[in-house]
Point group: C2
């Protein structure tokens, strides 16, 4: 009965040779006679020896490990990013150490510290506020090969990110195209995410450009289970809005639900556009209109970028901004009910109009 796992020394002893020889045989580096090779292999087999990555890493100054920090896995977008990152890393023989910042800058910084101490070879992460992130500062100082995901490039770091502003402009354009004027922007932890802010800013700008009213910022501080109630309150407080752009699909779907609970019909009484393009948006009726993004490509790209730098390969180019998202039509966006537009139009028809065009557009999903 062995207690500790066998080391290379045990193998050497068993095989009757030096540890250097064992190392060479097992790594295929240097030469060895057929005889000793055989003896070493036999010893390895007998002892069930496996190299310890620790000694190896200490010596080689490389852990074959890359860190990955995302705000949360509750958001399927990040789950996909991580999944893709893990997959890509694995393909190249790297492991992934995962940390969740939980939208907390303190945790974020701490995670970076720990990962650096663990001597990760590279880092792939989404920070909460890229502009003035202590975490990124530390990364810069320590020169850790790194790529951002879902954050705009900053300090010259490579980044695989959505062009949030342009995407938000698309949403504004869609609203405008359907005749909406009074819109709102719905966000969950607005101050905790620069992504949300960028979407808001792009949306506001574009609404202004289209001559629409300034969008209302509908902000929800924390999600404590009563999200639907909070949304219900918000919706009743702002009856005049005909369209809401949500900073993510989950929020949009929740808003959809809350609006329905209030007896409002989608999209006649309220149009909704989400962000991210999670598959759930295609399970509801009508389909959620949204900005579709591709988290898998982002996660994969970020890892490739880091690995390329690590392995001295040509670093892949970052994605062209206009390819980072795609407007996905769906039935949750339609013309506002003329009966209750913001006072300027004549009120004529009843809220029962069953807009066929929306049904139609809700067919457009294509299973990815």
């Amino acid at each position: 009965m062995k207690q500790r796992p066998p080391t290379i020394k045990d193998v050497a002893e068993q095989a009757g040779c030096g540890i250097a020889t064992v190392s060479r045989v097992l790594n295929g580096s240097g030469s060895a006679s057929a005889d000793t090779r055989e003896k070493v292999l036999a010893a390895v087999d007998a002892l069930g020896f496996e190299f310890s990555a620790l000694g190896r890493s200490l010596q080689s100054n490389s852990t074959k490990t890359i860190g990955c920090i995302v705000p949360s896995l509750a958001n399927p977008i990040f789950a996909e990013v991580v999944q893709a990152a893990q997959h890509e890393a694995h393909r190249e023989g790297y492991q992934l150490i995962l940390a969740c910042s939980e939208y907390d800058e303190e945790l974020e910084l701490q995670a970076v510290r720990t990962l650096i101490a663990k001597k990760i070879d590279g880092l792939v992460l989404t920070v909460n506020n890229a502009e003035d992130s202590e975490a990124l500062a530390l990364i810069g100082k320590r020169q850790v090969p790194c790529s951002l995901v879902y954050n705009r490039s900053v300090h010259g770091l490579p980044s695989w990110a959505i062009d949030n502003r342009s995407a938000a402009r698309e949403a504004a354009r869609a609203f405008h195209g359907h005749g909406h004027v009074q819109t709102g922007f719905l966000a969950l932890r607005f101050n905790r995410s620069d992504r949300s802010r960028e979407r808001y800013e792009g949306f506001v700008e574009a609404c202004r450009d289209y001559g629409m009213a300034e969008p209302l910022l509908l902000e929800i501080e924390e999600q404590d289970g009563n999200l639907l109630d909070l949304l219900g309150t918000l919706l009743t407080e702002h009856k005049s809005l005909t369209g809401i752009f949500a900073s993510n699909d989950f929020l949009a779907l929740a808003a959809m639900k809350a609006a329905r609970a209030l007896g409002r019909r989608i999209p006649e009484n309220l149009s909704l556009i989400g962000f991210d393009g999670i598959s759930t948006g295609l399970m509801v009726d009508p389909h959620l209109t949204t900005i579709e993004t591709d988290p898998r490509t982002m996660g994969q790209g970020a890892v490739q970028t880091v690995l390329a730098r690590l392995l001295g390969r040509p670093v892949p180019g970052q994605p062209a901004p206009d390819t980072t998202f795609r407007f996905r039509p769906g039935g949750s966006l339609g013309p506002p009910d003329p009966g209750r537009t913001d006072g300027r139009e004549a009120a004529t028809s009843l809220p029962s109009s069953e807009q066929p065009p929306n049904r139609l557009s809700s067919r457009q999903e294509s299973p990815t």
Copy 2:
């Protein structure tokens, strides 16, 4: 300009003392004069020194790292498991190394090998087939502290798992209670998951006990994007079924969609029960009837179990089987349309009956 990160040796030199002293000061072990303590701290500050976890781990024989293997993060259940596991590990100062087996036993085994080589202190994992898993065998041989998640206990390993059989019996009971006789069990990668099989077996048994027909096994081999088409085909091939129990919520929702595309109404023409209790089930209309599970508790519990063993604490008991799931009523389950039951009942009412009890039961959701 320092190139490599500073080591304890650099600090010692800068502070003008031995490395042992630096170690003692920084770790608060052993004594040190106020004078040297100060000098060491100053040197640390000046150099920006941080311990390397590598040397430390090599010496202490502990990496403060635990491995986590799940089939995939695409399933929100596992995303939540991982999230909770990560959180719990972090709480105790441990990092999480993540690996996805992608429902592949080969990858699973390989992941275990790599993690062991990386000298993880413990392991938390969901395997595809617990009974005869090479991965588990290896874990057993190497004596890695470990806990299963979502797999039934095996080889005496601790496990945080759903009582799949009993849960499936609940589903059968519900179907029976509503008068269903001809049911089916829908699974995605049936042979790749013992969880799916257990659910099936429990369902079959219970259906037999209730005097219902033997459930049809509706198996989908691989998910290649045309999932909805495949489901559509399956549904038209098996028109006689009035209720389908799906091995997870995602499948159930997809089936719901596919059935609707065929013009069938839920639940009048087809009742559906899912498994897992993902929140998406509450976003659709009617709500998905399902077996609700608590992946967070499972992930957290598994990590606690492993950590307890690692830290010599009393190991928490595993959850009582009957607390591992909860039947969640929803509008997707209702009495079958008598007009097309399997021939034994009289056909009386029209398919337009708008079952109020189901609507009611669909209200029962409580935001977690």
